[in-house]
């Protein structure tokens, strides 16, 4: 493998129902930073059926170039045709870095492609940067520069590891949704669009989709919320979540919750923040009646401002909170809602 041949930062631009997923824009935002450090270009790889028209959007979010594989076999996600398409793109274009979203699609596609093109893959990264490997020069070992350093949590968020892929290309990573920042879209930006079709020959690995069943629940995605009012076991009952809903409404926010609440059956899983739920980074995160188990903190600690209300002064949530209030949530939260209502009304 001639590593020098591999150039450019590539992003798998996931689309579902011919709509580009938010993760693709987030990855483009990060890819732009990496490409700048490497003095190279950002390329989006867009796979699907009837999706050529989406290329401009990718340009607006930072893609210099878009490779489009447009084929009826790629209509709905199936591992094999997608893996064939993406690995063919890799073999043809030889990217230095290949980023994939750590979504239900990306976490299936990424490993299959990495095994096919025989390279390493680092899963669920939260930080990507360009640097040296080894980090510090070690006598007797060549220190390689311009490596992709991929940082990810492990052991349920208890440890963190930085991983490199120094001797194989591309350097592949899947990246957690909601972690990277997309850029402000540049209206009217155009990318160099290139069509590529490796040809598709169905075999036993082409599975058949018998049916597609979409979830009916149309809930707000807590990952998109600017303000989250999150409740834990301390709320006491599903009914008592009303006081959090009232607070969220005043602030234009959304209610989320801890794992304990989901386990108790008080709230659905899609509102769960944490290692086994969603990673969120709102402007303000209210942690109310949440003790702050490490698995929860792993999913919300990147929030800009964390306000915690808990009756237990020793609750670990106070270790990450910017503003911690020790007290009875049942007394404080309704009053806070009223006070904010008055403030907001006065400001108008």
């Amino acid at each position: 493998m001639n590593l020098e041949e591999y150039k450019g930062v590539y992003v798998f631009a996931q689309q579902v129902d011919n709509e580009i997923s938010s993760i693709a824009f987030e990855l483009l935002g990060k890819a732009k930073d990496l490409a700048k450090d490497l003095n190279t270009e950002v390329t989006a790889v867009l796979l699907g059926a009837g999706i050529k028209g989406l290329a401009d959007q990718l340009a607006e979010y930072g893609a210099d170039k878009v490779i489009v594989v447009d084929d009826p076999e790629l209509k709905d996600y199936r591992t094999e045709p997608y893996a064939h398409a993406l690995s063919s793109v890799i073999n043809q274009y030889k990217p230095e870095i290949m980023l994939v979203g750590a979504t239900a699609i990306g976490r299936d596609l990424g490993p299959r492609v990495s095994a096919r093109v025989a390279t390493g893959l680092t899963a669920d990264c939260t930080v990507l940067e360009i640097g040296d490997f080894p980090l510090q020069a070690v006598p007797g070992q060549e220190q390689l520069h311009n490596q992709l350093l991929m940082t990810r949590p492990a052991f349920g968020g208890n440890t963190i590891a930085t991983i490199a892929c120094p001797y194989n290309r591309p350097q592949m990573a899947t990246v957690r949704a909601g972690v990277m920042q997309k850029i402000e879209p540049i209206k009217g930006a155009k990318a160099n669009v290139e069509e590529f079709n490796p040809g598709f020959t169905p075999d036993n690995k082409y599975v058949e989709i018998l049916d597609i069943v979409k979830s009916v629940a149309e809930t707000v995605d807590i990952m998109d919320a600017k303000i989250l009012v999150s409740g834990g076991r301390g709320i006491g009952s599903p009914e008592n979540f009303k006081i959090l809903e009232d607070l969220a409404e005043v602030l234009g926010g959304t209610v989320s919750c801890s794992r304990a609440v989901v386990d108790s059956g008080w709230k659905p899983k899609d509102l769960q923040v944490g290692q086994t739920g969603k990673t969120v980074r709102p402007n303000v995160y209210f942690a109310i009646g949440i003790s702050g188990a490490i698995q929860h903190v792993a999913g919300m600690e990147e929030s800009d401002i964390i306000v915690a209300i808990n009756k237990d002064a020793d609750a670990p949530i106070f270790d990450v909170a910017d503003y911690g209030v020790v007290g009875d949530l049942n007394k404080i939260v309704p009053k806070l809602t009223e006070a904010l209502k008055a403030e907001i009304a006065a400001a108008k």
Partner: protein, 260 residues
Amino acid sequence: MKIVVCVKQVPDTAGGVKFNPDGTLDRGAMLTIMNPDDKAGLEAALRLKDQYGAEVTVVTMGLPKAEEVLREAMAMGADKGVLVTDRVLGGADTWATSTTLAGAIRNLEYDLIITGRQAIDGDTAQVGPQISEHLDIPVISYAQDIKIEGDSVVVERQYEDRYHVVKAKMPCLITALSELNEPRYMTPGGIFDAYKQEITVWGRADLKDVDDANLGLKGSPTKIAKASDKVRKGAGEKVSLDPDESVSYIVDKLKVKHVI
């Protein structure tokens, strides 16, 4: 039908994580369990066995101690256990692990391979799909329901906002979610029987069609540059006031930060 289930012995992070004084994880001090997603995969296999009749072989790669999860699987109802253990296999990343497991599975007959979606220590979700690639068979990840129809499997494959009902010809690899089922308990008699059975132990020499260059730490494309106990952002302020003062305190902070 022959089903191979891959399982991993992992530290029980739910039971509290212990650290060495230098900040690294004290694996020796933590209890070990069968990885929850893998256990759901095993339960899925045992239910297929109950329903359609099948021989279930459980495969694990790890230290000799990992034999325990094979005994546990057998006490739940698995028929055979294979332990893949060898010093040269240590330090493997997902590529090297999947290469190893594929090398072991090539020695076995199978219609279906079931793995857990991901392990709670690494959380990578890679080994299952990578094994399927090495064996050149279809993969269906994130299974929330599994049925057999003739020579095919019909699986509900979960996505964030939907699921696909997917049909694949066997042999096929499926990765299971812990939501898939509630794994059964062992039985007391099953435990004693499991310890009476022979476990197959394979080393490097027993792996089929694998290259040394793809095994263990040396064969791992990804390298750890740094590992540490997670550094957390420091605690901010903490106040203990009466409810009215608490409210004023929060309102003031939100004003200062221009939230309102």
